[in-house]
Symmetry: C2
Subunit: 95 residues, 2 copies
Amino acid sequence: MSERDPSAIYIGRKPVMNYVLAVVTQLNQGGFDSCTLKARGRSISTAVDVAEIVRQRFMKDIVELEKIEIGSEELDESDGRTRSVSTIEITLKKK
Amino acid sequence: MSERDPSAIYIGRKPVMNYVLAVVTQLNQGGFDSCTLKARGRSISTAVDVAEIVRQRFMKDIVELEKIEIGSEELDESDGRTRSVSTIEITLKKK
């Protein structure tokens, strides 16, 4: 998740519908055929919610799930230690 | 997630390591070559944590990620309405 991908949407702690709107806008107007949702830690379940709401409700019959990847990342803590955090990347693409 | 799958482990609110131990035990002693982690809602991120800890730490070089599926389920609320909840299924299998 360290490289900035222009077609990526980073999922954090905002309300789910903010991200749904960002995905729909990107796929409708952004000149992209696909969109990758990236999240880590507790935001992983929000990323799955966003993907499901987009593909089952707002862009049903328009987008499909291309791939899902999971991984781990090392985060530096303020005390100098590192902690491992899980990540997910969900790619939706236009049919 | 409604059908009970004997090789499935249902992820809930217990500590992550309880589920890690269940997966490792099932793959080592349970007579199964694969194990499917099933979770919904906020437990989705715990399911990803369990999969990552098993495949990157406890059973590295022994298991691999077979597939990841996401979906939605309708839950009946106590007030008679239904609510949609996201689900994930992560299958790990022995190499």
